[in-house]
């Protein structure tokens, strides 16, 4: 792609390595190439520890890449921030609890040479009724709306949202996205990171799937969703024939993942009929079950495979090795505590069993 001068964001061969434990540095971002044009609404989708936040931090100039280049509207990341072209809603944390909502907005506003009026920004974020409230007394959703108000101050051309609804309940999440939709000015570029597929689906024009510090898929939302959808087929195979059977199953077009535990083979595939036919006839399978994979589950399978192979564009033919379940999100992730999506691979597989 040739958008060197006009691109909103341009990442070239960007890597970021953290010291980690002595002797084993952690490569959080492992060679990302990405161009985002002005006006695009892009979702960074991936499990925790995939490198989403680190990538966004580099676009925001909060951290510098170990190697590679980051350009934002043709300039360096920090220069773009100073010019007020870029702003962001960061993950939880990052507010002073002993001042009021309005004081927080005034404080951040004072750091810009030119900014949108404080009261207008408070109004747009739906905080007018809370302006005099201490930040410590605001709910998680209200605090997130405050971060959104802060991000609106420079009237940025690029708005970055890092897991903007993490920790919110369903109602607060819908409220937040309603506010976002209401404010989606034509021409404003938006990049948001999330591990909720539904959010990416509802709000983004384009989805960039990230796992293990790499881009594993990148395309229009509809296309990625089609790839991530599929069915799960489960059957028991006769003893001793599981290994050979799994090789055959990999050969079927559209098979995404094949796993086996205690004689039960679990296949995630686009064409469940072909898989079922093979299992029941040639492989001698019994106790067949077919379930519609949730998008979430299929997505986790996709990113998990992507992390172990690591090359974009190979999604359809991947699944070259049977892996013990639960390894899907382990690859290349930084230790970040167990969160919902890291549990759900196992949980989803248990449910289909």
């Amino acid at each position: 792609m040739n958008h060197a001068s006009s691109a909103a964001v341009e990442l070239r061969r960007v890597t970021k390595t953290f010291p980690g434990t002595p002797g084993s540095p952690v490569r959080a971002v492992d060679g990302i190439d990405l161009t985002i044009d002005p006006g695009e609404v892009v979702a960074f989708l991936g499990p925790n520890g995939a490198g989403k936040t680190t990538t966004l931090d580099m676009i925001l100039g909060l951290t510098s890449p170990t190697a590679g280049t980051v350009r934002v509207f043709g300039a360096g990341a920090r220069a773009a921030v100073c010019a007020g072209r870029v702003s962001a809603v960061l993950q939880t944390g990052g507010l002073l609890h002993d001042i009021t909502v309005r004081e927080t907005v005034r404080m951040i506003a004072s750091t810009y040479a030119a900014h949108a009026p404080v009261d207008a920004v408070i109004d747009r974020a739906g905080l007018s009724a809370l302006a005099g409230r201490r930040v410590s007394k605001c709910s998680g959703g209200e605090q997130q709306r405050l971060r959104f108000a802060l991000a609106l101050l420079p009237d940025p051309r690029l708005l970055i949202l890092d897991e903007p609804t993490a920790g919110m309940d369903v109602v607060a999440r819908h409220d937040f996205w309603d506010t976002m939709h209401a404010d989606a000015n034509a021409g404003r570029t938006v990049i948001f990171a999330t591990h909720y597929l539904e959010e990416a689906d509802a709000f983004a024009d384009r989805i960039v799937l990230i796992a293990g510090g790499r881009i594993v898929a990148d395309g229009p939302t509809a296309e990625i969703r089609a790839r991530a959808s599929g069915r799960t087929v489960i059957a028991s195979l006769p003893p001793g024939r599981a290994a050979a059977g799994m090789d055959r199953l990999h050969g079927i077009e559209g098979v995404v993942e094949v796993t086996e535990r205690a004689g039960r083979v679990c296949v995630i595939a686009a064409d469940s009929d072909a898989v079922a036919r093979l299992l029941l006839t040639e492989l001698g399978g019994t106790g067949l079950e077919i379930a519609t994979a949730s998008l979430e589950q299929a997505f986790l399978a996709l990113t998990g495979n992507g992390a172990s192979s690591g090359k974009p564009g190979e999604l359809a033919s991947q699944g070259t090795s049977a892996r013990p379940s639960g390894s899907a999100t382990d690859n290349g992730s930084r230790p970040s505590g167990i969160r919902l999506d890291e549990l759900s691979t196992d949980d989803a597989k248990e449910l289909t069993r």
Binding site: V81, L90, L95, L96, M107, I108, T111, Y112, A113
Partner: protein, 248 residues
């Protein structure tokens, strides 16, 4: 310098009544107990009296407490994500440090003014230059303890650690010849503790080097103490702040 930001920060601090009590009112209270009511308060020392000596000591303790807590809070708020929020704005690190330093100076000035005001009414006496120079030394020397606060805040990253740092100052104050006059072995050991040099330096315009136990101490002793502790606290603060950033 950003006036709006600085004023909002000041308002934030004045809202913290408990914190203000410990930094501003407590040293003045200590002065009442340890200085203004003791029998020896009118005894001559240097170019003034013992009441003045205790007044300067307590002002030093109060100013150090103030800068320790401001430094600690600054380190803490940056560690806990406000630094990332500020990283999204054009605000430079140097402007942030400048604003915080100004705020620390203003807050440190409160116990100094209060204690000195009490001193005027309660019989502290010394030469005019002793009043002025000691106050200036009190204020400037307190910067060393801002570094102490920053290092504790970024090393432990918790509200409790800031309280603990202020508590440690009480111990430093006893060891550092600030609360009670030391002599003999305690004084010999106390010379190496962080509050000793700072308080002795602030009292020097009054004492001219004459100590409470009758001995004499040249100016270089407290100066060296202040310089060495400034280096120790400063370098440790830089190291812990860097470590905190790498972990983000």
């Amino acid at each position: 310098m950003n006036a709006t930001y600085t004023l909002l920060e000041m308002r934030r601090i004045t809202r913290n009544y408990i914190g203000l009590f410990f930094t501003a009112v407590l040293p003045a209270f200590f002065f009442l107990i340890f200085g203004a009511t003791i029998d020896a308060k009118d005894t001559a020392i240097g170019n003034g009296n013992v009441a003045m000596y205790v007044m300067i000591s307590m002002a030093c303790y109060g100013a150090a407490t103030a800068t320790t807590s401001i430094g600690g809070q600054a380190a803490l708020e940056r560690m806990q994500g406000w630094g990332r929020q500020l990283g999204l704005t054009p605000l430079k690190d140097s402007s942030y440090v400048g604003m915080k330093a100004l705020i620390a100076m203003v807050v440190a000035a409160i116990p100094i003014l209060l204690t000195y005001l009490l001193g005027v009414f309660l019989g502290a006496s010394g030469s005019t230059s002793a009043w002025l120079l000691s106050a200036v030394a009190c204020l400037l020397g307190a910067v060393v303890f801002a570094a102490f606060g920053i290092l504790v805040g970024s090393a432990f990253n918790s509200e409790a650690s800031i309280g603990a740092a202020s508590g440690t100052l009480v111990i430093f104050a006893f060891l550092g010849n600030v609360f009670i006059p030391l002599s003999g072995i305690m004084l010999a050991v106390g010379r190496f503790t962080p509050l000793y040099g700072y308080a002795a330096l602030a009292r020097f315009p009054l004492t001219q080097g004459h100590l409470a136990d009758g001995s004499f101490e040249p100016l270089w002793v407290p100066l060296l103490n202040v310089v060495v502790w400034a280096l120790i606290f400063g370098m440790l603060a830089v190291w812990f702040v860097r470590r905190g950033r790498d972990r983000q």
